[in-house]
């Protein structure tokens, strides 16, 4: 009926193309991302005594426990690296991934109230979660830098910085993208089945044990290593350790494999998320 669709600034249709992604609109709402990040950060430490220091406490205690249990009692290898450095590098990285996936996977449930009352591109929410967690990651990263500096200055640790250091930020982006993609896929499914959200929180915990967090990939026997490398998080964690501490098991092959998998999951996540966001208000 309307040949001249350009006359209208907005057309509301039953269901858009699943590949339709309105980037212009997303860009319009960029201020919202920033304000949501700020909200998360400020509300985290309001009315606490230690404020942002809480960001430090969790990785410090986890590192201590890991050193005691896995390093000393179980005697796991740490690739010749000082145990606290090895564990903390991994924990800080894993925390970021786990937070991204946990928070993103409940995004529809957590924001049902807002989503039911006002429209904005729903992708804004998962993006803001990933960025908020990046702030938290940044704070914990400072702690990690302090630790490394301490080891260099007082413990005679010889740093092994190479060009691989540039891999570190790349791996952060990959990790964020993986958490975001997987989280969005799960979030779309949890709108229908609440059961999944219970599965996610402990699923992520278990996932940590099959990822080289408490042990290095190099401690795997060769025949299991192939299986361990199917996990896209393995090369990411190894790559981050390689960049920062100079020890990690990463090849061009595993790197490319991870990039492909991450992109696939992210694309799938965005498509599924976009499809669900249109009608989820009716199902929640």
């Amino acid at each position: 009926m309307h040949s001249d669709e350009k006359d209208w600034s907005l057309i509301i249709k039953p269901r858009g193309n699943i590949f339709e992604l309105n980037l212009e609109e997303l860009w319009h709402y960029r201020d919202l991302v920033w304000l949501l990040v700020k909200r998360d950060f400020v509300s985290f430490y309001k009315q606490t005594i230690f404020g942002p220091i809480w960001f430090f406490i969790q990785p410090i205690f986890t590192t201590i426990i890991f050193v005691l249990v896995f390093g000393n009692l179980a005697g796991f290898s740490t690739d010749g690296l000082p145990q606290p450095l090895f564990y903390m590098t991994n924990i800080v990285a894993w925390n970021y991934f786990a937070d991204c996936i946990n928070k993103t996977s409940t995004v529809f449930k957590d924001n049902a109230q807002i989503f039911g009352k006002v429209y904005f591109p729903r992708l804004i929410m998962p993006f803001s979660i990933v960025i908020s967690n990046l702030v938290r990651f940044g704070v914990q990263f400072i702690l990690l830098i302090i630790m490394i500096a301490y080891y260099i200055l007082f413990r005679g640790y010889h740093p092994n910085f190479t060009w691989y250091l540039l891999l570190y930020p790349v791996m952060i982006v990959l990790m964020a993208a993986l958490g975001l993609g997987a989280g969005m896929i799960i979030s779309a499914m949890t709108t229908k089945y609440r059961d999944l959200s219970f599965l996610v929180s402990f699923g992520v915990q278990l996932y940590m044990y099959i990822t080289p967090i408490i042990y290095p990939l190099s401690s795997f026997p060769a025949k299991y290593k192939k299986i361990a490398l199917l996990n896209p998080m393995s090369p990411i964690v190894e790559g981050m350790r390689l960049g920062l501490l100079g020890k990690g098991d990463l090849t061009m092959g595993t790197f490319i494999y991870t990039v492909v998998i991450v992109l696939a999951i992210l694309t799938m996540g965005i498509i599924i998320f976009n499809k669900v966001e249109k009608t989820f208000v009716d199902t929640v």
Partner: protein, 420 residues
């Protein structure tokens, strides 16, 4: 003038009991039951929702083939009973949910206010929440920067603007939230019944602002309300929805008239459960509000006489039996009580009529209390047994707040009063 919103064959379907029950275990249970050829154990959950009773399927049309155009600068009221599809229409227009069928063409930015204060965070200060709420509603940060002073000024809570909103009173909260909403930059404003909160002074301010928005700035406003008085004041045209269909789209006066005549009767209350009354020796069976010629009426145009008809049953003979009815304001303040003269009465079913042609109530909702008693003892006393709606939509086009009664008072200081 050009068209701002064009709606074509819009339908919205809700599937009842088909979209999954919410948990995986229940879906599996249902699938297992169907597999064994048994009844769907969860289907009944949905069926009770089927208001319109289109029995044969579990599909409910919340909106069905609606088409209309809205001109730029129009203030359009959307009226209809609960479940008529008003909220669904607004939700689709605000893009909170998407239609099942049909297209909507929109010219200009839409700002929708289905709720005030969406996304307010209790820990953040008023100022921070202005930014957060404003951006959620689609403004850019620099647009808010420019209007910040105006927003704070409109809210009237300047003193607390840097206090976390969790310390605000609910009134302050609403003021702040509406102030943000009132300053949205958009060509089209969609407002659900959100003005019911807030004090009278602020409501007036908001109404003024909304009037200004549609008349002064040439913005298009869509407004849902059950308050005919507000609709009449604000809107020049109205959409009248009934059971998901568009019944009428024309000037406000005509639509409101049709709406008031067409409504089914909520003013009739039947007390069915006799078992609940086993401890009583007499009880009220049914209460109706009617016009003087016996038609049930939901909203009584202000100034029109009406009557209250009460059917009651007495299980034994009562000496000096009386029935009383009282009108109470929504704030529980008693206004008027009438008693029948005492009479000896035998067991049986009776009907009593109270005719109200001498009391002038202004626009609003009142509730009715009804009591049965003998001289010494109460038999039954029903509080708030029925709502009485006095509507501002009268045939007379007078200001609904001013009426002529038989007994006029004398004006003491005539210089301060203008009489039309």
């Amino acid at each position: 003038m050009s068209t701002a919103i064009k709606v074509e064959d819009l339908s919205k379907v809700y599937h009842l009991g088909e979209i999954g029950t919410g948990t995986l275990s229940r879906d599996i249970e249902r699938w297992w039951a169907l597999l064994r050829g048994k009844e769907d154990p969860f289907l009944r959950l949905g069926e009770s929702n089927d208001r319109t009773k289109k029995g044969e399927s579990n599909i409910v049309y919340s909106l069905k083939d609606i088409s209309f155009d809205i001109q730029q600068g129009d203030a359009v009221g959307v009226i209809g009973r609960n479940g008529a599809g008003k909220s669904t229409l607004l939700k689709i227009l605000s893009r909170v949910t998407s239609p099942t069928k049909g297209n909507i063409y929109v010219k200009g930015r839409i700002a929708s206010l289905l709720e005030v204060g969406t996304g307010f965070h209790p820990e953040l200060t008023g100022r921070e929440n202005i930014y957060l709420n404003g951006t959620i509603l689609g403004m850019r940060k620099k647009e808010i920067d420019r209007r910040l002073d105006e927003i704070i000024d409109f809210s009237g809570i300047e003193r607390y603007i840097d206090t976390p909103v969790k310390r605000y009173s609910s009134g302050m909260y609403v003021r702040l939230a509406f102030a943000v909403a009132a300053h949205l930059i958009s060509e089209i404003l969609i407002v659900d019944e959100v003005l019911a909160v807030g004090d009278a002074e602020f409501q007036k301010k908001c109404l003024g602002k909304m009037g200004e928005v549609s008349k002064g700035q040439g913005r298009t406003v869509l407004f849902v309300s059950h308050n005919m008085h507000m609709i009449q004041k604000l809107c020049n045209t109205c959409l009248y929805l009934k059971e998901g269909s568009l019944l009428m789209h024309r000037d406000t006066q005509g639509v409101i008239g049709a709406y008031l005549n067409n409504k089914t009767f909520q003013s009739s209350v039947v007390f069915e459960n006799e078992e609940n009354n086993t401890h009583l020796l007499g009880f009220i069976k049914r209460v109706d509000i009617k016009t003087l010629n016996g038609q049930n009426i939901d909203e009584i145009p202000v100034g029109m006489p009406w009557k209250l008809v009460v059917q009651f049953k007495l299980l034994k003979d009562f000496p000096e039996f009386r029935i009383a009815s009282g009108i109470v304001t929504s704030q529980e303040m008693p206004l008027w009580t009438v008693w029948s003269s005492p009479s000896d009465i035998k067991a049986g079913i009776y009907t009593a009529e109270f005719i109200y042609n001498k009391i002038f109530l202004s626009t609003g909702t009142f509730s009715l209390n009804i009591g049965l008693s003998t001289r010494a003892n109460s038999i039954q006393y029903l509080e708030n047994c029925c709502n009485l709606n006095i509507s501002s939509a009268s045939e007379v086009t007078l200001d609904p707040q001013i009426y002529k009664t038989e007994h006029t008072g004398s004006i003491i200081n005539a210089t301060e009063v203008t009489i039309f």
